[in-house]
Symmetry: D3
Subunit: 334 residues, 6 copies
């Protein structure tokens, strides 16, 4: 059970893929999850050209890398979000945004997501990682008083928009891995349970496990994994540090990432509050077989220093599980 250690490329979109690939090979990475920024990956280009997928794979092979997943987070965000603004426009293709009217954007985003599954087939990867958006995220704090029915409607909206997508994925043999994350339909254990129920536990619907989004919620990543052992389709190695001193709020005070007054922030893996050893042991225990995907983000550390530091961290905890039942092998314990 030696799992490849790879990088998700979204935060490196300013570098041409080939430049990044060279670096990754030099550092010792074994593959990538391709993000859609820069020249890294373009779903529609992939579908419209016979050569696109082959050339991407060839480029990666040249540097000893393999693609394990396609990321389509930004477009996914626009499928259930129903209040859209310039922030959404900035992160999705113009063809999806169109005139920016919500219902049309949502519909085109859903189509694009299915296209991403087709692209995954062409790339030979088994999973698309993504967001879903949510029509009820902004009603998180139950004031003004919010009825249970309002919340139920939000999950039904998700089910209505995503069941056809999951059906399409299932037909193509590709899995959809939601990055459980605030702003999405599921962001913790209880909401993930609810989301699974909403789509009748659709077999194509699973999780891109990223503990950095759980830590600032005080959700234990180990309990999360144990709650959904069959649904961990992909995982991100990313970390968060809580910074609570009585002045700072866990809600982060409308301050941007990197501001020391925030109650929490993303940090390079191993520099935050994730207990990586227990996460890795639990992944061993539940039989997760996918890649260990470093998603690197830390406003206080040089990016290239960090990418190498993170790789070393993951290797430190990548010990194999015991190959045998313990007491079966030994005559005694002392």
């Amino acid at each position: 059970m030696t799992r490849p250690i790879i990088l998700t490329t979204g935060q490196w979109a300013d570098l041409p893929l080939e430049v990044l690939a060279q670096k990754l090979q030099a550092w010792g990475y074994e593959g990538v999850e391709l993000g859609s920024g820069g020249d890294h990956f373009d779903v529609e280009a992939c579908l419209s050209s016979d050569r696109y997928a082959r050339e991407k794979k060839d480029l990666l092979v040249k540097y000893g890398l393999k693609c394990y997943a396609i990321s389509n987070h930004s477009v996914g965000q626009c499928i259930c979000d129903d209040i859209l603004d310039e922030r959404h426009k900035a992160i999705i293709p113009a063809s999806v945004w169109g005139d920016g009217k919500a219902e049309g954007v949502q519909r085109r985003a859903a189509e694009h997501m299915i296209n991403a599954a087709h692209a995954a087939v062409l790339m030979g990867v088994p999973v698309v990682t993504a967001f879903t958006g949510s029509s009820i995220w902004r009603k998180l704090y139950f004031w003004p008083p919010t009825s249970d029915e309002v919340i139920e409607a939000g999950y039904r909206d998700f089910a209505g928009r995503f069941t056809p997508i999951f059906d399409a994925f299932a037909g193509l043999g590709v899995r959809f891995a939601l990055e459980v994350h605030p702003t999405e339909i599921a962001y913790d254990i209880h909401t993930m349970r609810k989301a699974l129920q909403a789509v009748d536990h659709h077999p194509a619907f699973g999780i891109n496990f990223d503990p950095s989004h759980l830590i600032h919620q005080f959700v234990d990543p180990v309990k999360f994994l144990e709650s959904f052992p069959e649904r961990i389709f992909h995982m991100h190695v990313k970390d968060t540090r809580r910074n609570l001193d009585g002045f700072n709020s866990i809600l982060a005070s409308h301050l941007n990432f990197g501001d020391p007054r925030r109650g929490w922030d993303f940090v390079s893996p191993g520099h935050g509050d994730v207990d990586w050893e227990q996460v890795m042991r639990t992944l061993n225990r539940i039989g997760y077989q996918g890649p260990l995907t470093i998603e690197w983000e830390d406003s206080g550390m040089d990016r290239e220093w960090g990418a190498q530091d993170a790789l070393a961290l993951v290797r430190r905890y990548s010990f194999p599980a015991s190959g045998q039942a313990f007491d079966a092998a030994f005559a005694r314990r002392e």
Copy 2:
């Protein structure tokens, strides 16, 4: 420095004010903050009738009570909120909702807030407690990527809408006490600082201090008080308990109050995580002279049992400050 212990009536709107007043007298309360539900208080009725305010005051006097503040929270919510829905409609007067189009509702809500100050004058109370709403609350989590400019615009919007209100309050000698609270323009120390800056520290703008909204953010109520000692215009005795066991999220999982899976919930004062002794000592130290206003809310306790329990709690911590400098009075310490 014996401060009156009173009740804010919002959670008792199902009882006629006179029924409630009888109970309060029997339990030992000294006054009320009048909420706008049921027959408790109606801003517009107050302004349109010469007798309204006098009759309310007489009724209270009959039961040994006095009114110390007017609550106008719900209408305040609609001044800066720009995405309005049925939840808002349910909590404000039909005259303010009108056709429900945002800009009109916001304008009428602002007018109503100024009317509340006029009503306060008629009632002889020095403070209106309220919410402000916020055009940026729903952008709390900075995804999709949110620029600082977007946030600045939100504070400017608040300043633009509220400066005239604060001017009107100042002209009437009434103070506006924002209940610092998620969903509002300020909900913690950093955002309250930002809000004060946005309105140039307008003298009519202060705080209805309610520690129950800080506890689940991990903000220390004592540090909050010490940050704004001059701006504490009113305070609520209300409590919150965090319930974090690794399964539950501090964001509360879109579950309603009272659900044991929430990561936090409101509880009767003294049954949660507020350190009341330190809060009370700090109020003594900064010279807060207003009432101690119990706001009672606990989904797991009988309301009348709780109202009496809360009063006993407040009395337990209502010790007078030392009347003299300590070492000045004593020959020595051993």
Copy 3:
């Protein structure tokens, strides 16, 4: 939902029942769980005399008390324990001990337990509280190496001995409440689950919930209650304090109760590590309707002082649950 506050009489067996009853009335108790020591209760006398049960009940009524349960712990211990010694002999009737050979004692103890259910019918009480003993307790620490099969055999032994007992109880409409406790077949959440499975979730088999036996195991009493909400047939208000300073062991060092070097000890309710408020709220939430039974034991406190202190504690946390859904009743929350 006002539950009676009663006392279990085992620790007071040195006092004649009438003397104890007088005291209980004076202190404000509402009833008893009768233990089998002294003249308090004798299962076999009860079955052999028409008057016995009536006279006991009359005596209790004379002091305003009612019997809510029969305790048959000591005899129960001898049903599954298969290594018996003088310690067992000292606590059970001579008729059950007989010649002291294990299998015979175990069989006679099982018969006596069924008799206790008959006695409960005569007394008009719905529940017998008891222990079960265990043939595997002494193999708790898995050294020498212990196979899973050895453990499974222990649970099968329990099922074999107790299923007929539970059947008899069910036939009589009486419930068997195991005090989950080290030395018994179930002493925590995982072993209670296992015990329930072993007897196919027999409807007559439930729990006498006593958090004092969980605290020194670091099991959360609230999580215990939430794991078996339908099986809480009775409960004991008893407390434990952990005393871990690096020198003391949680296993208690073969030191007797009351020795300050123990890593934990029993203490009067409210003087230990049980979070009574959360226990009581959870009992409210799961709808427990039985008595709140104080079991008093504290080696460092006068017994009569303690019995009154404990009653005051229970009253402090015996607040009624909310009579109504919270948001349904109120127009708004502020």
Copy 4:
């Protein structure tokens, strides 16, 4: 074992003793430790008049009070302190200060301490509570580098000055109770051990146990008591609260008592970090038979409110020890 609850009068020296005695009787106190401020007690006056002691006792008896100890802290401070300044002058009789040259002051202070033992005999009290001062306190932090010999010399100085005092006390049947306290020769467990060794465990030398001086040192009061069970001659009920938030220093920043920036401060008993229940249980266990002496000091609370609050606290924890071995009395535990 019902121990009297009394007050030490030092902090009330601004009130004539009779005024204080009236209040104490009204509040329910049973006696006093007389301090030397105001008209409370004067060692030299006591020795020079046949009537002085009798009149003091009569006055106390008039209000149902008894004197249990004489406090002579301030004079004691000047016995080992060898750098004296205006601060010392302010707290001792002019006759002891004289010309203020250190060696003379120290000698006269020692004589006065022996006089205090004579006065105790006249008053019929068995213990004088006091300080010792220390010639090495100011070398506490070992910079500039301090040799062990320098420290040893400090303890020898203490032994040289105090052995004659302890001999005199022993001859009179009076005990000397050092309030273990920073600035004295002993202020924690290790220094008390050292001080006892320095005077060969003189039988007249013991402890006035006051946990408020241990809490800010992070010394556990229970471990302190267990270290010197035979030497607890008297005790003070006084409390301390640590106030460490990352900004404040446990060394208190040269800020006076009452300043909220201090890392710790004295507070009314039960409002600080002393675990009174464990202190009281330990006093029971080691067989302490003396009074429970409230020393009241809290810069943030009204003094008279506090004196009554403290009395209620002590009563709450003054439960008698168990009168019998637990298992001896009961047939069984369930």
Copy 5:
């Protein structure tokens, strides 16, 4: 003071000693504690052949290794255990088990233990590590009520059986190192004190210090070492992790090692709750001169990966003590 880092071979009994020795040399180990499983070491073969010991030593020398101790744990277990079953039979030589009747097994086990000392002499090693068993372990929880006399009898039984063994060891110049461990006569600080008293502090009786057995008891390994500085004859580097989440019991729920529901489990050194730095500093301070013996056991990690990881851990903390008194060497500190 460079102590050799070695491995105890019990958990590797499935590998022929030579295969293991090759691996140990490659990894950098310096020696072994020989366990009695597989072909590693056989006490009786050693005594019956002139060549056995020499050949074992030669084999080790071939791989740069040395033997520092003989382990005879399993046979030791049967000396005081008086309830024996198949679990015991499985771990001891058939010649010791014989007909399996307790008293005979106990006697033969005692003889075998003395033989182990003879074998140690032949091997040139100064210490035999072992267990003792205990006739009272199964009475750990004091229910049914257990008298102090029952416990005292258990220690007397130990003294009676082991004093002749210790005498024999002393005569041979070999030391007996009990691995302080649940199921043995001593398993924590208080019981080790008791065991030492029971044999009048026999000079041949000491400790094989293994902190993994203390951690789940909440006993501080540093306090353990400081309590018996002269008696640490050997030590094991082994680790334990507590896994207490409110559902799990520190008593481990009759679940086997490796089950994630256990309240604690063994883990590779450095992956658990032992504070190795403080353990190593304390070993330096008390002058422990023996080997640092890794005992490797972790149900969630590959054994060979772990053996190397553990060696690296021990090296990291194997810093030499300061060679000189600190202040003696330096002119000053800044």
Copy 6:
């Protein structure tokens, strides 16, 4: 922003500078802060010889080292300390001590400090690190009762003695870096603020930040840095471990460094309670540009082992800050 990692030489004064320099080069150090012990540095020799400074620099250059600061701690101690004894005499030049009368020593020490600034100019280093002493340190604990005026006088004394020194430093372009430390005029955040006020925030007066002196006070080093971001002129990498177990006092019990009964002690960096990652991130954030100066002191570790271990630690946390605003560079975050 790659800061040099250097060593302060005070603790190595027993080694000739050249011997030390050889070692430092071999280990990988980049420079030194020269202390005044042994042949390392002599202020007066430097001023009296044209060659002294050049030769020192040449010697360092020979081993690839550079001098970044001059340490003049011991002489500085005698500027404000007004009770001087043999301990002071032992650490300063005889020419400064003279006849040892306080006022004269203080005056000569002040002159010597100005000379140190001249020497710094000759050496080409921008900062002198030092102590100040304090006339009020020994009045730290406010007993006997200490007036605020007494404390104020202490700060005025400091201002009077040091303002001319700071003026001289400013004239020479050298900065004075006080090592904030118990026994000095400033030892925490509040006293540093006070000291800065006392000298009107003199631009030559700043801080030699050493977190080891804050940890045992429970002052957060990060909060310290954030309080004085402009005044961090130099920093020491030194660590402290708290050792509080209920027996030990944070005041350290008049026990010397290295005694395990102390409540805290200095340890090699990374072996104590300093959170180096947060310290380093904060230094990045506030733009500290000076050297990272290891001051090595640990009574339980070999000095040379430690110096290398410390260097490795610092390198581990010496990651560069992010070169760019995070969100500016990336198209999106997932």
